[in-house]
Amino acid sequence: MNLLAAYGLLAHGLIFGGLVSLLPLGVLRPHAALAGTTVALLAGIAPALHALFGPPSLTLLLLALLHLQQRPLVPLTYPAALVIIGIAVLFYPAALGWGSFDPYALGYQPLPLLAALAPLGLVLCWRGNNAWLLILAAGLAAYAGGLFANLWDALLDPLLVLLALGVVLRGLAIRLIVARRR
């Protein structure tokens, strides 16, 4: 069995359940999330997402799992989302052909990338952001364990960037509404 393929299918199922749990359903939220995960796996939604987007990053999967808890944990705050979007703005255009440097290729021999993650880990440790330290640790462990051949695939994916964009837009909308009420 292809481990990456199995991971991709299950992860998309759980991420779909996590998306459903974002809906304002009150006491029905836990049941809707469970139903969403089940439907995604059985009704072809997860396989379709898998073909469209490929296996998701471990970062996105863990954010979905944390949100599926009975008391949801939401490490994807406004500042964290801004950081993710900032990385995406630099990464994706270059990786998709803009310019001569391909940052995605770095992920196959990622020693420079790992060296860049070390100061990020120091900053997270200094700020006491244990949730993100553990999320990054899980992604690095998945790469070290051979689940991903490219380190970028373990840490970042387009659905995560879309989610971060949603968090930022939601934060901006709230700020706008609060400013207008003053």
Binding site: P30, G44, G121, L133, A137, A149
Partner: protein
């Protein structure tokens, strides 16, 4: 919802040391496991003049596999047996339902067998697959690598798949996912892979995105991706041939000019620089480039506009001076589509060319350098 147990107070008290410790441990583990691909070189036999022989030209069609066939690929096993793979219909609603495989035995192509189907691939990678495309065979001894792409619902998305046979194509492992882009966009592989000195292969591929471009993908003998290098010029359909263990030439099609673009490497594919390109008008369709045993380069591709004319060009070993050698197809009717060539030179010096013939079948030509040197294209 996931009824995860509450973290114990003891664990919470130590989390401020546990989290950084786990991060450092994972970082160290990743650094230890990170591959360190040493520089390698191409595997290129020394050039020798073509033995004197009368012109040879043979043409045949590969056995049919339904109403559609495209994207053929050729490889040669250690015992000299030629094998071919192509995408075709398996009786489903799409013309790209299956990858077919056949061997050339005693001058005859054997009955093709489906190497994988759309359903097999979908079941192996747990993804909804609509169609298969662009199989590429790479042979090292009795081991055969198969690379191909697949798209999802409505032809959207794109997955790169890899399978392997250790017995010359009789038994194939279940396909596994590979990735060459951060988005699941189509990144079709081009023909043909180049063997590397470390036992792996270099695979040219086209990548779509903000700016479509060609790339050089380095894989090891087990099909693991080791490195990826972007080609500095051109947009698609890279065709690469090596002239010695360090030097190679890449030709690509462009979306802005009717002529081709060229790039060279002098360090075994580690880096690529723009180079003078041949003045060959091409409509942006796939190319095939082969270094002949005589050292000269042979280019196959569509000439002019459209896919109705398939031609062969020859050049000196440095790829500087190109001339039209032969036109193998020249038709102007509505169904004239002769494209996606693949070239291979066998141990006996014969040159094999396969290409999609009117999208209905695969045509196989066998010729030699004496035929290429004939009077009229």
């Amino acid at each position: 919802m996931l009824p995860l147990p509450a973290l114990s107070p003891l664990l919470l008290r130590h989390l401020r040391w546990l989290a950084p410790g786990l991060f450092l441990a994972a970082l160290a583990a990743a650094a230890v496991q990170a591959p360190r691909a040493a520089a390698t070189g191409f595997v290129v036999p020394a050039a020798r003049p073509a033995p004197p022989a009368p012109p040879l030209y043979q043409a045949r069609m590969l056995p049919g596999t339904g109403s559609a066939a495209a994207s053929p690929s050729l490889a040669r096993l250690a015992d000299g047996t030629l094998v071919a793979a192509w995408v075709g219909s398996a009786g489903g609603k799409y013309a790209q339902d299956a990858i077919w495989f056949s061997r050339l035995v005693d001058g005859q192509w054997q009955e093709p067998l489906p190497l994988t189907t759309r359903e097999d691939t979908a079941g192996a990678v747990f993804a909804h697959i609509d169609r298969l495309a662009q199989p590429v065979l790479a042979a090292a001894g009795e081991r055969l690598q198969l690379w191909y792409s697949a798209s999802g619902t409505g032809g959207l998305g794109g997955l790169l798949l890899y399978s392997q046979s250790d017995d010359g194509g009789h038994y194939w492992q279940r396909p596994a996912l590979r990735r060459t882009t951060p988005l699941a966009t189509r990144a079709p592989l081009a023909q043909a892979p180049l063997p590397l000195a470390d036992g792996g292969f270099g695979l040219p591929l086209s990548q779509s995105g903000l700016r479509p471009h060609g790339a050089w993908l380095r894989v090891d003998g087990a099909g693991r991706i080791v490195d990826l290098r972007r080609l500095p010029v051109g947009n698609a359909n890279p065709a690469i041939a090596a002239s010695d263990d360090a030097r190679a030439m890449a030709l690509l099609t462009t979306s802005t000019e009717p002529d081709l673009a060229a790039a060279r490497s002098i360090d075994g594919g580690e880096s690529w620089q723009a180079a003078p390109a041949p003045t060959v008008a091409n409509p942006g369709t796939p190319l095939a480039l082969l270094r002949l045993t005589s050292g000269r380069l042979l280019l196959a591709g569509n000439e002019g506009t459209g896919r109705g004319r398939l031609a062969l060009w020859l050049s000196d070993p440095q790829g500087r001076e190109w001339h039209l050698a032969r036109r193998v197809e020249d038709a102007a009717d509505a169904t004239a589509d002769f494209s996606e060539p693949a070239l291979l030179q066998a141990a006996d010096g014969r040159i094999h060319l396969v290409y999609a013939w009117r999208r209905q079948g695969i045509r196989h030509l066998v010729f030699n350098e004496a035929w290429l040197a004939g009077d009229q294209p």
